[in-house]
Subunit: 155 residues, 2 copies
């Protein structure tokens, strides 16, 4: 066993981050999730919709081997915590159901993408990094609201 990462551990890694991000969404008061902001940045709920949409876009790209960056129609994005969490949980289930069908071979294969040469794996890692990055913003928002964020190391 000398694989640093397998499709299974990559999925588990992402889902661990997604569980934490879900707890951060939950930690926001309903009336602040889509309104509170610092320095002109987007409220955390808007970032949440972006992160939730990543799942559908990623699964679409994998299924169609389409790396032109076209996103799928996200449907209605109601500014309520409940609507966001519903889409979040649907994404969790879809990832668990669909992601295991993609092989390490496919995920590691480089091709031309809208963002330059890269592999689906690199794209996935970028999406996860983007989620960790935005969630870090959410931690500051919560602290500024006087709310203790969920512990970073619990996944």
């Amino acid at each position: 066993m000398s694989e640093l990462l397998t499709p299974e551990t990559l999925l588990a890694h992402w889902q661990g981050h997604r569980r934490l991000t879900r707890r951060v969404i939950e930690a926001f008061p309903d009336d602040q999730l889509f309104s509170f902001s610092i320095g002109g940045m987007r409220p955390f709920g808007r970032l949440g919709w972006e992160m939730a949409g990543t799942v559908a876009n990623t699964l679409h790209a994998l299924e169609h081997d389409d790396w032109t960056g076209k996103g799928v129609d996200a449907g209605e994005r109601t500014n309520t915590k409940a609507a966001l969490l519903d889409v979040w949980d649907a994404g969790t289930a879809r990832l668990n159901a669909e992601f295991p069908s993609y092989s390490a071979q496919y995920l590691a294969t480089e091709q031309d993408m809208a963002w330059g040469r890269g592999s689906p794996m690199r794209f996935l890692l970028y999406q996860i990094d983007n989620e960790v990055h935005h969630r870090g913003q959410g931690y500051v928002y919560l602290r500024a609201l006087g709310i203790e964020p969920p512990p970073f190391y619990v996944r």
Copy 2:
């Protein structure tokens, strides 16, 4: 080629993040790096010292196969941007020089660690996630200071 990640691509991934974090440190005005804070969180310069120290701690753990969580003596941590960047750059050089000597086999091998069962690889990924997380905080600090942060996608 079906390796999702190799020691070489893992190192390149981390160094890409470290280059971006370095630009975020640089973007802070000297007189705000160790003083500006939101919600009682640490100033970005203090987070910078934590992230800079990660390199020495990680290389120490790898070299001695010591995962008990004992950090190495960080030396003096002067609250100046120049001192932080000097240590940052020394860490960059050390990583490039020392990390390639560790095999995928070793990095993927699970053992008992201070944080539970895991592999050096998982520890490394956690350190990188921690850096992305804290850097996300830095983006909010910069925006609150009216400063445009460096683009996230440039590594």
